[in-house]
C-alpha cells in the first residue's frame, strides 16, 4: 500500500492511562519543523486500549494524519506489540524519520523497533538539524553529559530517534483541520513467547515525575537528616515542582532511588533546578547540567555546584529554605 512520494515524519505519541505525555507534543513540534524543508507531513501514532479520544489533540498539534492502534488487550505497554504496530506503519509509510520521547517506554520501543527495521537508532537527542543535502544530524549527550556527539545515519535507512523531554519546543495548538484518523491493526501477541506487563505500580508520594517536571527542587547531604527533606518538599510544593535527591541522600536511605538525579539516577532537563545542600559532584552534574536555570543553596562557597549555578546563595539551608518558600508563596499570592 504505497503512499506515493509523500515524505512522512512519523511520531509515536506515548499515552499512559489515556493521557498523552507532554514529550509527545514536543516530538510533534520537532517533526513539524523537520517536515517543512522536506515539504513533508507529520503522521502521529497512538497505541493503547482506548486511544480514539486522543486523536483530536494529536491533530491539533501538527499531525496531518493520525493512526490509532487500539486494542483492549493493550491496557499496559507491550514491547512486542508496540514494535509490531510501529514496524508495520514504518514499512507502509517509509518515513524520513520516526520520532518519540526518550522516556522509559520510548527508549525501550525505539531500540527494539530500530533493530527490527535494521535501521539507525539515535537515543536521547537534544538537537536536530537538517543539512543542506537532506541528511539529518542529531546532537546527543554522551559520557553522562560531559560531551556531546553529533550523529547521523550511515545510509538512507530507517532512522528512529528519541528526544529528551523538556528540550524541544512543542507544536503550537491550532484549530484542527480536516485530519484523517485511521485504525491500524494490532497483531496478536503470544504471551508464551513475549514479555507481558502484569501490573503497573505507582510510587506513592512522587506527585510529579522528575524527568517531566519544569521545576525540580533537589536535596543533598547538606540537609543532614532525612526529616529535613521536608524543607525541600515545602519549597517544591510552593513552586509546584518535583522533588529530587543527590546520590548521597539516596545512599543514606533518605529517599528511594527513584528520586536520584545523576549518573546512576535520572537525567533531567527542567527549566529550573534548585540544588539544596548538594555539592555538585561530577556524578550529580551528569544528571542536571542541561537544566536551563540552576539555583544553588549551599553553605560551602567552594562547592562545585556554584560553578554551574546561574544564581547561588551561600548560606545555611535551614535559614534560607524556609525564607525562600515563604517568599515564593508571598510572591504567588500577590501576582
Amino acid at each position: 500500500m504505497s503512499q506515493g512520494t509523500e515524505q512522512w515524519i512519523l511520531v509515536f505519541c506515548e499515552q499512559r492511562d489515556g493521557v498523552l505525555k507532554k514529550v509527545g507534543f514536543e516530538a510533534l513540534g520537532a517533526a513539524t519543523r523537520l517536515a517543512a524543508p522536506l515539504k513533508g507531513s507529520v503522521a502521529a501514532v497512538a497505541i493503547g486500549a482506548a486511544v480514539s479520544p486522543l486523536a483530536p489533540d494529536l491533530a491539533a498539534h501538527g499531525a496531518s494524519r493520525v493512526l490509532l492502534a487500539e486494542d483492549t488487550r493493550l491496557i499496559h505497554y507491550s514491547s512486542e506489540a508496540y514494535t509490531a504496530v510501529l514496524a508495520d506503519i514504518a514499512l507502509r509509510l517509509n518515513p524520513f524519520a520516526i520520532l518519540m520521547g526518550a522516556t522509559a517506554m520510548g527508549r525501550d520501543v525505539a531500540a527494539k523497533l530500530a533493530a527490527r527495521l535494521k535501521g539507525a537508532l539515535i537515543q536521547d537527542c537534544i538537537g536536530l538539524q537538517m543539512e543542506g543535502d537532506g541528511t539529518l544530524r542529531a546532537t546527543r549527550p554522551i559520557y553522562g553529559g560531559k560531551l556531546r556527539a553529533v550523529v547521523q545515519a550511515t545510509s538512507s535507512t530507517f532512522q528512529v530517534i528519541t528526544l529528551r523531554p523538556n528540550v524541544f519546543e512543542p507544536a503550537a495548538r491550532r484549530a484542527a483541520p480536516d485530519v484523517q484518523h485511521e485504525s491500524v491493526p494490532v497483531p496478536a501477541i503470544d504471551p508464551r513467547t513475549t514479555a507481558t506487563v502484569r501490573e503497573v505500580q505507582r510510587v506513592a508520594g512522587s506527585k510529579r515525575e522528575l524527568t517531566e517536571a519544569s521545576i525540580i527542587v533537589s536535596g543533598g547531604r547538606g540537609l543532614k537528616a532525612p526529616e529535613h527533606f521536608k524543607l525541600v518538599e515545602d519549597l517544591a510544593e510552593a513552586l509546584d515542582a518535583a522533588v529530587g535527591a543527590s546520590r548521597a541522600a539516596v545512599d543514606a536511605g533518605w529517599k528511594p532511588h527513584g528520586y536520584q538525579v545523576g549518573l546512576t539516577g535520572k537525567t533531567v532537563s527542567p527549566q529550573l533546578y534548585i540544588a539544596c545542600g548538594i555539592s555538585g559532584a561530577i556524578q550529580h552534574q551528569a544528571g542536571m547540567s542541561s537544566a536551563r536555570t540552576i539555583v544553588a543553596v549551599n553553605s560551602n562557597p567552594n562547592a562545585p555546584i556554584f560553578k554551574l549555578a546561574t544564581y547561588g546563595i551561600v548560606g545555611d539551608l535551614f535559614e534560607v529554605l524556609p525564607l525562600l518558600t515563604a517568599e515564593v508563596k508571598r510572591h504567588k499570592a500577590a501576582s
Partner: protein
C-alpha cells in the same frame, strides 16, 4: 541454568576526557578504564542466581570495539568476582561500529554459546544509548525486560518476574526464558573481587573469538555494520559564571525570587 552476562569496558566516570584534534572521538590513550557500573549489577545478579539454585554456569562476554580497550582486564575482573568463564570478541572487523553492529556480533556469539538467561547493564555510561541489550534480544528473537531493579527467576516454570522502573512507578513484567534482562541500580549490591578470587581468575578460561569464529559477514559488524556515524564530539557549551547573591539570607532570597520572576520568568 546457563547465564551469560554481556559487559562493556568504559572510561572511569571521574576521568577527564580529552578530545582528539580532529574532534571525532575522545583520546583513548592512557584512559583509566572500568567495568561499566550497570554491568556490575548484571554480574552480581548472575552470581546470586547461580548461588540461589546451587547450579548453573555464569559466562561473561564482551566486545572490543576499539584497539585501545583492555577488554581482557574487564573480563578478568568479572572472573575474579566469581564468573566461571569469559569470551572476548576481538577482531579489527568488530571495531569502529555502533550499538547495532555491536548487538549483531554479540547475538552471533550468544547463538554459538547457548543461554537460558542473558543479563546486561541497562546502559553503558560512555555512549549512554541504553539499547544494546534490547537490540540483542530482538536479533535473537527472545523477549526482554529493560531497566530492571528486582528480578525473580522461576526455573520450574522457566519464567522470570521483573520489576521495571518507569516514570513515577514500576511495571511488573513476566517473561518466558530465555530472555534478556537489563539491570538497573537497586537490583543488588555488587560484591568486590576477593584476593583468592583474583588468584583463581587467572586460571579460568578466557577465549578469544574473531569474526571468523562467529561466521558473520564483515559488512554486518564493526564499522561496516554500523547504522549511525559520529560526525563530531564537542564539550557542552560552558555555563555562564554563576552569580552569587550577596547580603543576608532574607536579602538574597528576595533578590533570587525577583530574578526568577523578572529575568527567567519562572515564578
Amino acid at each position: 541454568m546457563k547465564i551469560v552476562v554481556c559487559i562493556k569496558q568504559v572510561p572511569a566516570t571521574e576521568t577527564k576526557l580529552v578530545l582528539l584534534a580532529d574532534g571525532t572521538d575522545i583520546d583513548r590513550a592512557g584512559l583509566s578504564l572500568i567495568v561499566n557500573p550497570y554491568d556490575e549489577f548484571a554480574v552480581e545478579e548472575a552470581l546470586q542466581i547461580k548461588e540461589r539454585f546451587g547450579a548453573g554456569e555464569v559466562t561473561v562476554l564482551s566486545l572490543r570495539e576499539h584497539p585501545l580497550q583492555k577488554t581482557e582486564d574487564a573480563l578478568r575482573t568479572c572472573l575474579a568476582t566469581g564468573a566461571d568463564k569469559a569470551i572476548l570478541l576481538s577482531d579489527p572487523a568488530f571495531e569502529g561500529g555502533d550499538g547495532f553492529s555491536a548487538a549483531v556480533a554479540l547475538a552471533a556469539a550468544l547463538r554459538r554459546l547457548g543461554y537460558d538467561l542473558l543479563l546486561f547493564g541497562k546502559q553503558a555510561v560512555d555512549d549512554d544509548a541504553a539499547a544494546v541489550g534490547i537490540q540483542v534480544a530482538e536479533l535473537l528473537g527472545v523477549p526482554h525486560v529493560a531497566v530492571v531493579n528486582k528480578l525473580d527467576v522461576r526455573p520450574e516454570s522457566r519464567t522470570v518476574l521483573a520489576h521495571r522502573q518507569i516514570e513515577g512507578g514500576l511495571e511488573v513484567v513476566e517473561a518466558p526464558l530465555p530472555a534478556v534482562i537489563t539491570c538497573q541500580k537497586g537490583l543488588n549490591e555488587p560484591r568486590y573481587p576477593s584476593l583468592p578470587g583474583i588468584m583463581k581468575a587467572k586460571q579460568k578460561p578466557l577465549e578469544v573469538w574473531t569474526r571468523e569464529t562467529l561466521g558473520v559477514p564483515a559488512d554486518e559488524v564493526g564499522r561496516g555494520g554500523a547504522k549511525t556515524r559520529v560526525i563530531g564530539v564537542t564539550p557542552p557549551p560552558s555555563r555562564q559564571a554563576g552569580r552569587i547573591l550577596s547580603g543576608d539570607a532574607a536579602t538574597a532570597v528576595t533578590e533570587l525570587v525577583r530574578l526568577l520572576h523578572e529575568e527567567v520568568k519562572l515564578i
